[in-house]
């Protein structure tokens, strides 16, 4: 009975303002046809471009993914055949290796692993650096140095990683020998079970600059008297972070996390530069972007599969884009 009553009340409450709202709407519409016309006129150019270059290709590839292709020519309807083939393709998902958690697992799981490792690391490193640099002398230089990686073209980052991890001349191995870890010296980008993490480290280096920059401005936006007040209230460093700073930078965390996820989803050049079109030996660090490229532009051309993989990326990215767009 109680629940019935409460739902009744809530619907009552819900209808009340909406009735008011629609009344206002109708009143506005009757008065402002001119305004509606103006809005339409101004929106048409933008909407046209959006339709041609965004919605169009999406609909086209959704449509195309159900057809057979001869190179770039549309053939006959095949239903879900391409979809099923794609999910059985070892390059996309290697089911056997996936169950035994061995690389290569295929581009889709590898891309998701990349996301799971990369996003928390780059987020917390960025926040850590932003906190560290907040009251430091010379913070501008330090910030620029960290941010520099983000401004560097990702192909260059891939090449730099090649040099860093080079088994003979690479500084990473030299560093390991220098600190007495000769046993750890190896060919980082060719070891199937490790290579992807070596590349993720490079990605984190890039993304950290971005998240640090966002967090720095978020921290600068916190009223210093809030932190002073917390100090007087008796909060130590950790509690000030947990109770004041962290909740206040939460919106930025949401942006950093989602931008990081989208960035990883779109990753291509670093992987291509470091491991070629196959994505490392047997594709141990291949990602979705690379597979789209492979299917579409290497012989034999499998255009339908390229569309399916691109759509998988889209399905993962859409909710995140939606979340970012609906943020206040």
């Amino acid at each position: 009975m109680a629940t019935e009553h409460s739902t009744e009340r809530s619907t009552e409450r819900a209808t009340e303002p909406s009735a008011e709202h629609s009344f206002e709407d109708t009143r506005e519409q009757t008065v402002d046809w001119e305004k509606v016309k103006a809005i339409v006129v101004f929106m048409v150019p933008g909407l046209t471009l959006f339709a041609i270059f965004s919605v169009g290709p999406m609909v086209y590839s959704a449509f195309g993914s159900f057809y057979a292709w001869d190179a770039f020519d549309l053939q006959h309807f095949v239903g879900f055949d391409t979809w099923i083939e794609t999910f059985q393709n070892d390059a996309i998902i290697n089911w056997d290796n996936l169950t035994s958690l061995e690389y290569p697992m295929g581009a889709l799981p590898q891309n998701l692993i990349w996301m799971v490792v990369h996003v928390p690391l780059s987020t917390f490193l960025g926040l850590g650096l932003a906190l560290l640099f907040a009251d430091l002398r010379g913070r501008r230089i330090l910030r620029s140095m960290v941010f520099l990686a983000f401004t560097t073209p990702t192909v260059v980052i891939g090449l730099v990683l090649l040099f860093v991890y080079d088994p003979q001349a690479g500084i990473f191995n030299a560093f390991l020998s220098g600190v007495g870890l000769e046993g750890q010296v190896r060919n980082w980008l060719q070891e199937p079970q490790i290579a992807i993490y070596a590349l993720i480290a490079g990605g984190v280096w890039v993304q950290t600059g971005f998240s640090m920059l966002l967090y720095s401005s978020a921290l600068a936006g916190i009223d210093p008297s809030l932190l002073e007040s917390a100090r007087i209230d008796g909060a130590g460093r950790y509690r000030r972070f947990r109770d004041v700073i962290w909740p206040l930078v939460k919106p930025v965390t949401a942006v950093v996390v989602i931008m990081g996820m989208i960035w990883v989803l779109r990753i291509f050049a670093i992987v291509y530069a470091a491991g070629g079109p196959s994505g490392g030996p047997n594709g141990v660090y291949s990602v979705l972007g690379l597979e789209v490229y492979q299917s579409a532009f290497s012989i034999p051309i499998r255009y339908g599969e390229a569309m399916v993989v691109a759509l998988i990326e889209l399905f993962i990215a859409l909710p995140m884009a939606w979340y970012i767009a609906s943020m206040d």
Binding site: D223, E228, A230, R231, I232, G234, D243
Partner: protein
């Protein structure tokens, strides 16, 4: 129950280039309401922040009773502070804001509830406990901030211009509320303001500050009756005291305006200033018999309802006179007369002689 002692406390910034405070010596008695009064940038807020522990003195010592605290972090001093912008945590509701200092100090939840309810009632914000700080009015935010400060029964209560963000009516209301609260709780309180009305009405004693130092510490009445320097005389009162520069000669003073007034007071200094409060002067159009009069020309007349402010030009200086009512018109030559006991004499260094 804490007595605060500042002993020769100085604070420098930028490696000594900026002197915020220089050799402050001050005793705040247990349960006293002391006000730091001074113009913007006089170092009063820095002094307060040193008592709070948000700044460490460059020099000197601060004691709470007999414990030296100047190197302790704020958390160890059991002080509470109300900030000018209230500094309410925007992501917590009113209740959580008030509760926070107790939570940090691991007070058990039942006791927290009890104490929050108690202070909420004391400050009349029981109905706002579930609201966010952004939803409530300025006065309610102020009360929340006060509630958060007193909820854990601090030994010292510090307020940094807490009323300056409120509108005039609310400010008056909160002024008496604050005073009542301080009387009830009997906590040693240091209050910073640039508003002398606030200082005079609330303070048990007032420390007038200028250029980083304390110029005079006195009870409000005493500060008004006997401002020790020309600077304080010029600062206290609305409008402040009028000062007439002049020279002492044979038991009388030749004012720069040309008038001569007799004086009995002895001083070493030749250059002196005669100070008279606007409310202690009378405006007449006829030359008076009294020797204590100064001649001038009326510039403007400002009827303010409660009194009329007459601005008189005396030898290029604008002199303010407060009278209950007046007939004078701008341009009239007038004589400003006063009783000899209302006149203050300052020597060449601006120090009060009599």
């Amino acid at each position: 129950m804490t007595r605060i002692s500042m002993r020769s406390v100085s604070k420098y910034f930028d490696g000594g280039d900026t002197v915020a405070n220089y050799k402050l010596d001050l005793e705040v008695e247990d349960g006293e309401f002391l006000v730091f009064l001074g113009p913007s940038g006089c170092g009063k807020t820095t002094a307060l922040r040193m008592i709070a522990g948000l700044e460490t003195p460059s020099d000197g010592e601060i004691y709470f009773d007999d414990d030296r605290v100047d190197q302790d972090p704020p958390a160890d001093r059991n002080v509470a502070m109300v900030f000018q912008n209230y500094a309410l945590y925007p992501h917590m509701n009113v209740r959580e804001n008030i509760e926070y200092p107790l939570k940090v100090r691991d007070v058990p939840p039942e006791e927290r509830d009890e104490r929050v309810a108690e202070v909420a009632e004391l400050l009349h914000i029981e109905d706002q406990l579930q609201s966010d700080p952004a939803e409530i009015s300025g006065g309610q935010r102020q009360r929340t901030s006060l509630a958060r400060a007193i909820v854990r029964e601090p030994s010292v209560f510090l307020l940094d211009e807490p009323l300056s963000n409120l509108d005039a009516k609310l400010r008056l209301e909160m002024r008496s509320e604050l005073k009542r609260l301080q009387n009830e709780l009997d906590i040693t309180t240091v209050y910073v303001t640039h508003n002398q009305e606030e200082a005079m009405s609330m303070g048990d004693r007032i420390a007038v500050m200028n250029e980083g130092t304390i110029r005079q510490v006195a009870e409000p009445e005493e500060l008004y009756r006997r401002p020790q320097t020309t600077w304080i005389a010029n600062f206290i009162g609305s409008p402040p005291m009028n000062l007439f520069p002049g020279h002492r000669r044979n038991g009388s003073i030749d004012l720069d305006s040309g008038d001569t007034v007799p004086t009995k007071t002895e001083t070493e200094s030749d250059d002196v200033s005669l100070g008279i409060r606007p409310e202690d002067m009378v405006v007449t159009t006829e030359p008076p018999e009294s020797e204590w009069s100064i001649q001038g020309t009326v510039e403007t007349v400002e009827p303010l309802g409660e009194y009329v402010l007459v601005n008189v030009d005396v030898a290029g200086e604008l002199i303010n006179v407060k009278v209950p009512s007046t007939e004078v018109e701008p341009g009239t030559t007038v004589y400003l007369t006063f009783e000899p006991e209302d006149a203050y004499l300052y020597d060449g260094d601006g120090i009060l002689v009599a």
